[in-house]
Amino acid sequence: MSRTDWEVVIGLEVHTQLNTQSKIFSGASIAFGAEPNAQACAVDIALPGVLPVLNKGAVERAIRFGLAVGATIAPKSIFARKNYFYPDLPKGYQISQYELPVVVGGQIPLLVPDGKGGTYEKTVNLTRAHLEEDAGKSLHEDFHGMTGIDLNRAGTPLLEIVSEPEMRSSAEAVAYAKALHALVRWIDICDGNMQEGSFRCDANVSVRPRGQAEFGTRREIKNLNSFRFLQQAIDFEVQWQIDLIEDGGKVQQATVLFDPDSGETRAMRSKEDAHDYRYFPDPDLLPLVIDNAWIERVKGELPELPAALSGRFQGEYGLSAYDATTLTASREVAQFYLDTVAAAGTANAKTCANWVMGDLAARLNKAELDITASPLSAAQLAGLVARIADNTISNAIAKKVFDALWNKEGDSADAIIDAQGLKQVTDTGAIEAIIDEVLAANPKSVEEFRAGKEKAFNALVGQCMKASEGKANPAQVNELLKKKLG
């Protein structure tokens, strides 16, 4: 069978670290970067006699997420013990949710790149999202042949978000992970810092002959902490499974790790019974009850969601789905864009979008700056857009003004245009004078044009623009030049 006869099936489990102050079951801090074990209190290191007390802030963030994805918030959910032995899990069990999770269902809308320069829409359904605690960290560097344990991370609140196995390519999986990443930051429940492990993906991957109803046997790739690794790991895994099956082998259910250096996935040394977790309700914790009043209050505090805002950008501002999605990638970008349009006027919304996504994004990216730290304000950009709209400057000159604003050579587009004499020349007489000069100086191009070489015309336009230092209105130059040559 060839490659195209196989269908890829992917489901993702994403661990998002909730941006609370304190841990999910204790009052220890979760701030990143503390001295080892300085933020591991008696509950976190599981001293005898301690009891967990649930953090309201963690629950509230789960509610925010559930509302943002249109899920059901369980009026009653329960915590369960997931039992396994590992040194960075001092209790011998992880407190998680099993049978009754706090968030049930929900949907994430996506725009997936189709690999041909376009995009298509897709909606991924969520199975559930549940609250749980993180484990500590094992450091396997050499401590005289021993392992070092840091329990600062133990008890950090996580929301594990589980999707249905509805993604059909690594591109869809990455688009889903990116949309989810943007959403949790948008609703401010997670800082999204992937290097620090605040957003970690596990991918369940299987393949099946196209048209087959049953799923193939899946393997789970653990702990992917970048979108690039997610894509590479899935692509490698899919090919590995197809090759195995085509060679007559059978996929065995397994947990695998991705090695970024080799680009390969490999099975973890299979720990016998690793999945025999013997879940049972944690007797230390009563059921979590969430009443309607709480849900309504959280609903009232939610910001306008990216999907709604993207719809508004398309409906009210006439932006494409792609542009609207790009501009709602983060709340900061969306706010900057909204501020720009507010100052430049809705009629210029498309031009504003082009500048925010184009020159501004490129400059910020190059300077490794967040949009909140942009040297150019939304009001300044709006001022620039307004001068393009009223024909004071051409697009080419606008780039110069943009650079000048970026470099703080002036306070506003107007000030820079005045100070540097960049005002567009729209006076017909002045433009005609320039054209006459250019025609006189370039008899060869004129000759070529008359002989039927269209390219020569563009060369002449270029000469006119150059002679005017970019200030002549290009449309007028075109028109007048045509007249003179015609």
């Binding site: 304190s22 009052g27 007390v53 649930l54 953090n55 329960i78 040194p87 021993m146 059921p287 009850v289």
Partner: protein, 95 residues
Amino acid sequence: MSLSLDEVRHIAKLARLELAGGDLDATQAKLNGIFGLIEEMQAVNTDGVEPMSHPQDLAQRLREDRVAESDRRAAYQSVAPQTEAGLYLVPKVIE
């Protein structure tokens, strides 16, 4: 339902219990006694009764999200068998 000796061995292994010789048989008998009790209870008609996850019919009390703990690492590590650079040291574990 009753447990085989192999199942008892498996459960003991998961719980990191070493059951030697007669302990294994004794544990099997005790566990099967519990299963017997469960079977007896399952004969009771519980239609319409909502399952409880906790014997007390109460809701979980919640804690405000505030840092309430200070660093007591030195005290906790004074009873640890081995520490270094602030880390607890344990026999080597490698995935």
